[in-house]
């Protein structure tokens, strides 16, 4: 029989003594995230440095049938990297090299633990005319994690989900093979994750690490204009918001559109902040785009349904910062270090219904709330967040926040939304509602790739 000690020694042989822990302290920390899902400890925490080390750990786990959970910064907040069945937690953040930037094909190849912050900084310094889509998550979020959860960030309006921006993958399969996905499987270039080949990236993106471990990722880069600005509009009629979003999208001038709603301070209650981000290489270009946006909303100004918030450069600075520290500050609204949100992906017509539900549920459970909505694609859908901040020192408040989240998720699903980075409860809801043949296909894929069920068990677990 293989003992814990034997596994530990094998892991030390692979990654080195300094990079393997079975201590209570590491097991405690990696057992939880900043959200509301129950904690569960890993047995081992390992910090791999290379693809080969990941491969060896996976082979060991597969042979011994030990669960293995690849983790970035754990900032999904929905417990996706909580090791539900123990085993090995792989903290990927030592694999942090930026391996290549191809300026002419506009992509970057990063290792599996590279942070969003490091990539942003690297591009600003070495390739200032290129940028990537930066989410509002803190800078410690990893590029791979954002792709795996179908995250969204700046440029979402123009280019869609972060997973749409992937241009190639290197994956360690649950059985230990190293596999390349996309153009990089036949070429030294990482410009496409699929086309014109069958797009196998779908076997890994959105699966939360249950089908393999991404050790390298190609990511599309986009032009970084010299100037960036934000226009802030105020509206108080939620019914008009979908139409406003479509009109803004119709201009094809906008980098990003974000709508913020929060009840506190009181002056914000009942008002939606519509933030329209623009870029340009010259004053002329920026002014032209501003004019186009202005024209698109002109009728609303006339009817006084939409107002303009005059903002100083100082007031704009936090709105323009990437990532946005204000998003993180929401975690301290309840002065308690806790924050979780349900973020359904939904047609934009649902905005009024969802905002009403958010207020209703927040009142019902007496919890702090807020919402951020991001337009994805040219009005094809949006991410609407039902966000709740809670005090970690107040179990009752945490329980109420969890109930509020569950109710919002259930409601969103009933309204036709698809739950984003779903926690295990939400995954169950999704699978219950899913077309049975689709679910059966997912099950076949999972069984084929991970015959021993070692990869992040508990997630996407199909009965």
């Amino acid at each position: 029989m293989t003992t814990t000690n034997t596994i530990y020694e094998a892991l030390v042989k692979i990654a080195g003594k300094d990079c393997v822990s079975t201590s209570k302290e590491e097991r405690y920390f990696y057992a939880r995230d900043g959200g509301l899902m129950p904690a569960h400890e890993p047995d081992f925490v390992v910090l791999p440095k290379t693809t080969e080390e990941v491969q060896e750990v996976v082979r060991l786990a597969n042979k011994e049938k030990i669960p293995i959970v690849p983790a970035g910064a754990g900032l999904a907040l929905t417990g996706l990297v909580i090791p539900q069945k123990g085993g090995i937690l792989l903290d990927m953040k030592r694999m942090d090299k930026i391996l290549e930037v191809n300026e002419k094909a506009r992509y970057v190849i990063v290792e599996g633990g590279t942070t969003q912050g490091a990539l942003k900084s690297y591009l600003q310094k070495h390739h200032p005319h290129l940028r990537h889509s930066i989410p509002d998550a803190p800078p410690s979020a990893t590029v791979v994690a954002n792709a795996v959860i179908h995250g969204q960030g700046r440029l979402a309006h123009q280019h869609g989900f972060n997973s749409d921006m992937v241009s190639g993958l290197e994956v360690v399969l649950p059985t230990g093979e190293i596999c390349r996905i996309g153009s990089c499987s036949v070429s030294s270039y990482w410009f496409s994750k699929g086309a014109p080949l069958p797009d196998l990236s779908g076997l890994f993106l959105g699966w939360f690490g249950t089908t393999g471990i991404i050790t390298k990722l190609g990511l599309k880069l986009y032009p970084c204009k010299k100037m960036r600005d934000v226009m802030v509009f105020l509206a108080d009629n939620a019914e008009l918001v979908p139409e406003i979003l479509l009109k803004l999208s119709h201009t094809e001038m906008v980098e990003d559109v974000v709508i913020s709603a929060q009840p506190l301070p009181l002056r914000f209650r009942g008002t939606f902040w519509i933030m329209v981000y623009l870029t340009g290489d010259s004053d002329e270009e920026l002014e032209f785009k501003q004019k186009m946006v202005w024209n698109a909303l002109w009728d609303y100004f006339q009817s006084r349904d939409v107002g303009v918030l005059s903002t100083s450069p100082e007031a704009k600075a936090p709105l323009l910062s990437m990532p946005s520290k204000d998003t993180t500050r929401f975690a301290d609204v309840a002065k308690g270090g806790g924050f979780q949100y349900a973020g359904p992906i939904t047609p934009i017509e649902k905005f009024p219904t969802f905002i009403r539900k958010l207020e209703e549920v927040a009142n019902k459970y007496n919890v702090f709330y807020g919402s951020t909505t991001r337009l994805i694609g040219s009005g094809h859908c949006m991410m609407f967040s039902f966000s709740f901040s809670f005090n970690r020192a107040n179990p009752d408040e945490m329980a109420r926040a969890k109930k509020a989240l569950d109710e919002c998720s259930k409601f969103a699903l009933e309204e036709g939304a698809v739950l984003w980075k779903a926690d295990m409860d939400e995954q169950r809801m999704l699978m219950e509602k899913m077309d049975p043949n689709t679910l059966a296909l997912m099950k076949k894929i999972k069984q084929l790739l991970d015959p021993n069920g070692i990869m992040n068990p508990g997630n996407w677990e199909m009965r």
């Binding site: 300094d18 990079c19 822990s21 201590s23 209570k24 302290e25 590491e26 405690y28 920390f29 990696y30 995230d33 900043g34 925490v45 910090l47 910064a73 754990g74 900032l75 903290d91 953040k93 030592r94 942070t115 969003q116 912050g117 490091a118 942003k120 900084s121 690297y122 600003q124 310094k125 803190p138 800078p139 410690s140 520290k325 993180t328 500050r329 975690a331 301290d332 002065k335 308690g336 270090g337 806790g338 924050f339 005090n391 970690r392 020192a393």
Partner: protein, 385 residues
């Protein structure tokens, strides 16, 4: 302090901003950079302390080690986006203080306290040898403008002594009226405070304050930023009007008043901001002014500088205990390579702790013949006409 940390510490969201410099280019938290488990980041530390307070984890040597590898460099407080950011160091010190009161601290920390209490310095060297390096340097007497507070590293450490001697030569050349306390000087207590032995710190501070009063000291200039910080911010009962300077502040003032004539030097210099001078006391310009006063000196900055400077790893007594030792990711080894990458001939320091840590790292990295490490007074001394 303790009550405050107990009631507030759960507010950390573990977002991880604390690990970065402003531009997110690298990891700027020394123990996280060294160990890379999340537990060694500020967020990890705060979550573990909260778990310990709630009884979800028990005290262990590993927990204490995680807590004590924090160099209190204050990068976390600088970067944390939350309103409680200014309190983070107090929370860490508060938790350490709890461990001290319970007698549950790492052996190296316990030895540090024993040495300071018994010998007045963390090296367990004789009090009667404290001024052995000084070679007749004048003791402070009534009428002197400044007391030069040398500190433990300046008194006992080979590199610190060199710094003290250079500074004294420069002060003499500039006709500054000063004296030292000789063997009557006691440890400043900054590290003892940061390590959570608040009772010991208070008694040390009271002793020093009493001596300052007996001697009639009105102005202190310190060799070490750690002493500068604690005298300026933590010492109780000092008279109104009592002023504390770091030596780089004094030198900057003197060179600006053209009190000094300096020779042309064709040298390229980069500068290590000490945490207790920079992030703790916002002294960034003065050391640079002093350096730039030397004709021909070219100052080149490391990528991480000023409030984003990467700590040498010596804070919170680690210049003695070295809880972050081992491997190429030790902060001082990372930092010395960054200094070398600037193409500088000299790495200028303004802290004897940085001097010790970075000099050792230069040896380990085989950079000692390629990059000289000198303190600012030494660089000025070599330029004096």
């Amino acid at each position: 302090m303790q009550q405050k940390y107990v009631s507030q510490i759960h507010r950390c969201f573990r977002c991880g901003y604390c690990k970065f410099p402003t531009d997110y280019s690298s990891f700027n938290c020394p123990p996280y950079r060294r160990f890379r488990f999340e537990t060694y980041s500020t967020g990890g530390r705060l979550w573990l302390i909260y778990a310990w307070l709630k009884g979800e984890i028990q005290w262990s040597e590993h927990l204490a080690e995680i807590l004590y590898t924090c160099t209190t460099c204050k990068n976390c407080a600088e970067q944390c986006p939350m309103k409680f950011a200014p309190d983070i160091i107090d929370w860490i010190v508060g938790a350490r203080s709890d461990m001290v009161e319970k007698g549950r601290i790492p052996p190296r920390v316990a030895r540090f306290f024993e040495a300071v209490q018994g010998y007045g310095n963390p090296f367990k060297l004789l009090r009667t040898d404290r001024a052995a390096w000084a070679n007749g340097t004048k003791l402070f007497t009534a009428g002197d403008e400044f007391l030069l507070y040398v500190g433990c590293l300046g008194s006992y450490d080979e590199h610190g002594q060199k710094m003290a001697k250079s500074l004294i030569e420069v002060l003499r050349a500039l006709n500054v009226s000063f004296g030292i306390m000789g063997n009557d000087e006691e440890c400043c207590g900054n590290e003892v405070y940061m390590l959570g032995e608040i009772g010991l710190f208070q008694s040390m501070a009271e002793k020093n304050v009493q001596k300052f009063k007996e001697l009639g000291v009105k102005k202190v200039v310190t060799l070490c930023p750690h002493g500068y910080n604690t005298l300026k911010n933590n010492y109780p009962g000092l008279d109104e009007g009592f002023k504390v300077y770091h030596y780089t502040e004094l030198l900057a003032e003197l060179v600006q008043r053209k009190k000094v004539k300096l020779s042309q030097q064709k040298i390229r210099v980069t500068y290590q901001d000490p945490c207790f001078l920079g992030r703790y006391n916002n002294v960034y310009d003065e050391p640079r002014l002093a350096l730039k006063s030397i004709p021909g000196l070219e100052l080149v900055e490391m990528e991480r500088n000023r409030k984003d400077a990467f700590c040498c790893g010596g804070g919170s007594g680690n210049f003695v205990m070295d809880l972050l030792a081992g491997g190429e990711d030790t902060p001082a080894r990372v930092r010395i390579k960054e200094a070398y990458a600037t193409g500088a001939d000299i790495l200028a320091v303004a802290c004897p702790g940085c001097m010790t840590m970075l000099t050792d790292a230069a040896k380990t990295e085989n950079l000692e013949t390629k990059l000289a490490i000198k303190d600012i007074s030494q660089i000025l001394k070599e330029s004096l006409l």
